[in-house]
């Protein structure tokens, strides 16, 4: 987190008087399920390959490497979900995410064209969803994953209302 020091950290703060609203820790679990699912495939394939190609000691090493990778993956998911944050200011929605590449996106409500919520099977089971905000610009890429579904629905309703209230053309 330390790269760039205070200045960078300050640049990604929420507007004065507001706090980042963090997403559900279940996003972390969702990411872990993804990592483990992917990890199992890699471990099995890696083990099969290692058994054929490498001598016995090498196979052990390969398994160690894969387990280390899983641990790193675990850590990354933990950092990832904690990096997400959003806040509803009076005229715009601010959101931030990213650990290595930090991003701050400001979407004025009057620019919103539509807002949608998606949740795949696993996300539904965890009770979280992804909110996407669409403006006329395809480059906007504003989404908030891991919002508890009930919150997501009310947030979408608030955004839609705010969008209509402040809309002027496009």
């Amino acid at each position: 987190m330390g790269i760039g020091g205070e200045a960078t950290a300050a640049a990604f703060q929420p507007p004065p008087g507001l706090e980042w609203h963090s997403v559900s820790s279940r996003l972390g679990w969702y990411r872990k399920i993804q990592v483990v699912g992917f990890g199992v495939v890699v471990v099995v394939a890696g083990a099969a390959l290692a058994a054929r190609v490498l001598p016995a000691g090498g196979a052990l090493l390969a398994v160690c490497v894969l387990i280390a990778a899983l641990l790193v993956g675990w850590l990354v998911t933990e950092l990832n979900w904690r990096s997400w944050g959003y806040v509803e200011a009076s005229d715009e929605l601010l959101l931030t995410h990213g650990v290595i590449w930090r991003r701050l996106i400001v979407v004025p409500y009057r620019r919103l064209q539509f807002v949608d919520i998606t949740a795949n099977t696993v996300q539904q089971w965890l009770g979280i969803g992804t909110i996407r905000l669409y403006t006329a610009a395809a480059t906007t890429q504003a989404r908030i994953p891991g919002v508890p579904l009930a919150d997501a629905v009310s947030l979408r309703a608030r955004l839609a209302r705010a969008g209509v209230a402040r809309s002027a053309g496009r």
């Binding site: 960078t8 640049a11 290595i100 991003r103 400001v106 979407v107 610009a137």
Partner: protein, 469 residues
């Protein structure tokens, strides 16, 4: 009107008046250039349904037959028997082609109903499109070579609706096409469709020699020319036929980089009128585009390195409707012109922008690319690039969202990138700044967007509002 019950209920029925192809009294139109407004009597597309010009049938039919002959003749050219058979077959075939073309033509009808343009067509599958004219993004009048010889023109309209968002009227008589264009733009502005055509003022005309010089004076083209010269010399000395093989692709590239733009942008004129900017261009296919005011999101000014000595620039704009899809390069506002002309034009696109007076603050003094940014109440300007140079101009009231991104390298150096998102097209302004300034810029941009929204826009507000309640 033979099957009116087919029409969806929202469409309304064609007006009771007779179906017309032409104006009662066609008016002679002067050739390209400024056209006085008084010789365009009111056309009311809401009072009668109109057809395309009858000659469309002939042009379409002949076109299809020529293509058919072109495909089959090379296959059968050496067999007298086949040629006779083919010729005999062509008679009923031509009849069928003309019949279908005539039928298709007879089914096309268009009129204006309640600020909507209704376009009915189709032989087997009848279609009726209803187009809200308030959503109109631009109108083109295109005159391809052959229809032009018959005094015909095509009208093409663009809507902000993604795919299939254009509609072509091919072909109409030239005066009719002009009239339709004017009427559609008037309806789009919320005026009565019979409003006489707005008067226009020529802003700039690109001289042919400037265009040619500009197209040649670019690094890839110069390199291509040098390569051609070199290969030609080698060939002259060695008479090695393989060298000619290398010449062909080089010539192709030159044709694409110089020949095609020359034909497309020849006789380029920009005029301004109350209903928008009018861009005329084209040597073979002459095209007139109208970009209504308030439809432009961003302007992108490019300056290839060799143009800098002359102060020449190229100007492109991002317009909804254009830009995403068919014409991914956006609309070229000026293929080549002096910087001052370009600035003047930007002021027309974004009223009160006065681009020339915007002071650009260097991102980091002494940097080799002289990158900088600045803003006033209307626009945000950023300049970057080296040795070629790019200036992006985004209107505050048009910017969609603002992003601040800092990657690991940038963070180590205390920097971040600010992006202003505009609808797709050539203009996405990005600026690398010290991180504290970057965040300040984000806040400033958001505040400016908020202010611009509240400012009065007497000139262009008509264009941006949704239909009035």
């Amino acid at each position: 009107m033979n099957r009116p019950e087919f029409l969806p209920p929202v469409t309304g029925h064609p007006p009771a008046g007779p179906v017309r192809t032409e104006e009662p009294e066609p008016v002679g139109m002067p050739p390209d250039g400024d056209r006085p407004a008084e010789d365009t009597p009111a056309v009311t597309f809401s009072e009668a349904a109109y057809r395309l010009h009858g000659a469309t049938v002939v042009l379409r039919g002949v076109g299809i037959i020529v293509v058919t002959i072109g495909i089959f003749l090379p296959l059968i050219h050496d067999e007298a028997f086949l040629i006779t058979g083919f010729t005999l077959l062509m008679f009923p075939y031509s009849g069928a082609v003309f019949g279908v073309a005539a039928l298709a033509w007879s089914r096309v009808r268009f009129w204006v109903h309640d600020e909507n343009l209704v376009y009915q067509s189709g032989v087997l599958r009848r279609a009726s499109r209803q187009i809200p004219l308030r959503r109109l993004q631009g109108v083109d009048v295109i005159r391809p070579l052959v229809p032009r010889m018959f005094g015909l023109a095509e009208v093409r309209i663009e809507l902000a609706a993604g795919d299939r968002s254009e509609l072509r009227f091919s072909y109409l008589a030239r005066p009719m096409a002009e009239r339709l264009r004017a009427a559609l733009l008037a309806y789009a502005a919320g005026l009565h469709g019979g409003t006489p055509e707005a008067t226009e003022r020529r802003v700039h005309r690109v001289r042919m020699r400037d265009l040619l010089a500009g197209l040649l004076l670019r690094v890839p083209v110069m390199a291509g020319l040098a390569l051609c010269l070199f290969l030609g010399l080698v060939w002259a000395m060695t008479k090695e036929s393989g060298v000619a093989g290398g010449l062909a692709p080089a010539m192709l590239v030159l044709g694409r980089e110089v020949g095609w733009p020359l034909v497309a942008w020849g006789r380029f004129t920009v005029s301004s009128s109350p209903d928008g900017l009018r861009l005329r261009s084209g040597l073979l296919v002459s095209r007139m585009r109208t970009v209504p005011p308030g439809r432009v999101h961003a302007v992108h000014i490019e300056q290839p390195v060799l143009w800098r000595a002359f102060g020449w620039v190229k100007v492109e704009v991002t317009v909804t409707g254009y830009g995403d899809g068919r014409d991914s390069a956006g609309v070229t506002l000026l293929p080549i012109a002096h910087r001052d002309v370009a600035y003047e034009l930007v002021d027309l696109v974004f009223p009160d922008a006065s681009l020339g007076t915007v002071e650009l603050v260097a991102v980091s003094p002494g940097r080799f690319d002289h990158g900088g940014s600045g803003a006033n109440d209307v626009v945000f300007v950023s300049r970057h690039g080296w040795p070629g140079r790019t200036i992006d101009v985004v209107a505050h009231e048009r910017a969609q969202s603002v992003q601040l991104v800092a990657g690991p390298w940038q963070r180590a150096r205390g920097r971040a990138t600010v992006y202003l998102d505009t609808p797709s097209g050539p203009g996405r302004a990005a600026l690398v700044l010290p991180v504290r300034q970057a965040r300040m810029l984000v806040e400033q941009q958001v505040a400016r967007g908020r202010l611009a929204e509240h400012r009065e826009r007497p000139h262009s507000s008509q264009w941006q509002d949704e239909p009035a309640p």
